[in-house]
Symmetry: C2
């Protein structure tokens, strides 16, 4: 079964905004065994939208529309889909009543134009919207001799996501051939891309029944995704489990997550299991490591805090870095990184301290120290370790990779 | 002139990855007076891609392809476009030579399959790629009696962006009717969306020749974009200048940027102009304010650093918050926020200190203090101010809006 997702809205054709709903829709559809083969983004034009609908009906079995169900004249999805199918729109008295009640509950009068939201394509089922005024629609129909499923969803994610998950997924599951799909993923930090593929491709090529995807991102992470469909769930689970296990064994400690956890979650979990506490003293990353860790709920159990020490004075004040150490070696040096890690560890009384100092650019380079030179240090009861990084790219990239190296250094220390 | 962008690559049809190149392409095309009316995302299937190309040739004047120009069997853009146009692919001996030299320079032998990258669609001009092995292609042709421009670009952003900007934009400018386009934008933080539209719509409706777009994002920011096309650049500039000026006057201090600057850039600029220094003591935001400020090159001139004080002990150690103040009022309180701001200001010796404490969730709520309750304080030589926030939404949203309020509070203080 092949699906097309059509995102409707002129704002998604500007340089400022893009469709993001389709990612969550794709995840749900894949779980049902449906492949998304086309995505179209289209403006608020009935002519364009009708044409795109006809194209989608021609090349896909399931067409999901996202957006264009509001009450204004720009909201044309209902009309365009009805036109493409050569079906009528019928005003549903029950929906009219529900809309009127919605406005009455807010002590507002309903503008006449909102009645458009009660228009349902002939033969379609209306989908109640718990989080907004636009009902969705679900249509199981025949077009040019082929069976087609059409789903119309409101655009705002907090309306669309629950409507699709709670109402459409069960309907699709009942209509589609029963499939049992198992998925696994492995996440890897900071490894050369070519090396990973060279090591795992001899393994996954022996599993032609498992769909293996290797994704490289710009943030120093590689993901291996495995998906398999079998007559029973157990067979599917066994098969992905076996392949994922072999790949994980081959890649050994490069793999930081076997269940899709983030690197932040993994290090916090490891700290928690060992009852260890952590603090950070960050110069060039400006708080990025602390910010990444504190994104995770419950991080306060292991991460107590730290300092952002952009100026030399604050390196001394908050992390006890001796003034003459900075004078002798420079603020960006192996010695100062270690001193930051040891100093923050002792001033905060944590088990582990992390220190980062470097040149994020674009300014700040010296003859001996180019942009991208960063030192990351870790101090613990067993002593200190420090790593010299020579990163390439823009300021944002240098900062991100510095934080990535710091978190991975911590992970390896905790292993 | 209407354009369609076709992004090619099966990875962009997974839940893990999406097309982002089209945003920069759209910005460049808009500057040429070309509207992007369609975006299609399609997998590595010659049948699907040929069909999508035919559809694009039917509905658009300019078709830009992004990706699928690599050397592997999955790279099908050249073949699919040639098939849709019913044109031949011709192997260009000059490109063959260039490819061989590229490999020779790296002391590698070129695999036979890489020769595919030297295949050029009949009549197309080849575009050299300074940052990779895949040349682009530019074709000015007639299809079914209509003139069509087709552009094939490599997928990686650092190859695509310079190729389009440096090679395609000049070609398009020479071919397209001469247009003079001026643009302006205003950025607004933390204002109710409906209020902004109500205040500016009576103004921009008097300028039907200026294209006005209001964009709301999920990050507490509203952007007003103005674009105008006139026979001369001066006329276009005058017109957007006049409208942007009137809207800015109406919105007064809600507008934080008139030239597209970010909120971080604006506050750092204001601090710099007044020769003031800043420090932060962050609890629930975990370093997010520091991290946002230090994204900006040169931020070290005004921002000296600060502390991430997740634990109560660190609030006392780094920002001198009296232990009994925390005992009496709780760590999440107006009093502790002020004490954090004043304490970090005095321990760091900066002109201004910012303190943030709150409950980001999902845990941590008490009977009197729900998730989303945050206190943001600012201390300066003139005294201290504090704001109570009651934010809704997930942890990430609470943290982001807290940082947004802190930066906007600082901006207003500096005005």
């Amino acid at each position: 079964m092949i699906a097309e997702i059509i995102a409707v809205g002129s704002e998604m054709l500007t340089p400022h905004r893009q469709d993001t709903n389709s990612l969550a829709l794709t995840a749900e559809l894949n779980q049902l065994g449906v492949q998304v083969a086309f995505k179209t983004i289209i403006g608020d034009s009935q002519k364009h939208l009708t044409g795109a609908t006809l194209m989608a009906l021609h090349r896909a079995d399931i067409v999901v529309f996202s957006g264009g169900l509001g009450p204004t004249e720009d909201d044309l999805t209902r009309n365009a889909v009805a036109a493409a199918l050569e079906k009528k729109l019928e005003r549903d008295p029950k929906l009219v009543l529900a809309l009127k009640q919605r406005f009455a509950a807010r002590k507002q009068e309903m503008p006449e134009i909102n009645l458009r939201q009660a228009d349902v394509i002939e033969g379609a089922e209306s989908l109640p919207n718990a989080n907004g005024s636009a009902p969705g629609q679900f249509l199981d129909t025949v077009h040019n001799g082929y069976r087609k499923l059409l789903i119309l969803l409101p655009g705002p994610p907090r309306e669309q996501a629950p409507m699709f998950k709670e109402q459409c997924v069960p309907k699709l599951r009942a209509l589609l051939p029963q499939r049992h799909i198992a998925t696994r993923s492995l996440r890897i930090a900071l490894a050369p891309e070519s090396q990973i593929d060279a090591r795992v491709s001899p393994i996954y090529k022996q599993y032609p029944d498992v769909d293996t995807t290797i994704l490289f991102n710009q943030q120093g992470e590689i993901q291996l995704h495995f998906a398999c469909s079998k007559p029973t769930q157990e067979e599917a689970e066994d098969r992905v489990e076996e392949l994922a296990g072999k790949c994980a064994q081959e890649l050994d400690d490069l793999v930081f997550a076997h269940e899709g956890e983030s690197l932040e979650e993994v290090v916090l979990l490891m700290l928690g299991m060992r009852h260890l506490t952590l603090s950070t003293a960050e110069s060039c990353t400006g708080g990025l490591v602390a910010e990444r860790l504190t994104r995770i709920p419950g991080s306060s159990r292991a991460f107590l805090g730290g300092a952002v020490v952009y100026s030399d004075e604050l390196k001394t004040r908050f992390a006890n870095v001796p003034k003459n150490l900075i004078r002798t070696h420079g603020a960006v040096s192996r010695e100062v990184a270690v001193s930051l890690a040891e100093g923050i560890r002792s001033t905060t009384g944590t088990d582990i301290g992390i220190g980062i100092t470097g040149i994020a650019g674009p300014g700040g380079a010296t003859l001996n120290k180019p942009v991208g030179r960063v030192y990351v240090a870790l101090a613990s009861a067993e002593g200190s370790e420090v790593q010299e990084l020579n990163l390439t790219g823009e300021r944002e990239r240098v900062r991100w990779f510095s934080s990535q190296h710091a978190l991975d250094m911590l992970r390896r220390h905790l292993m």
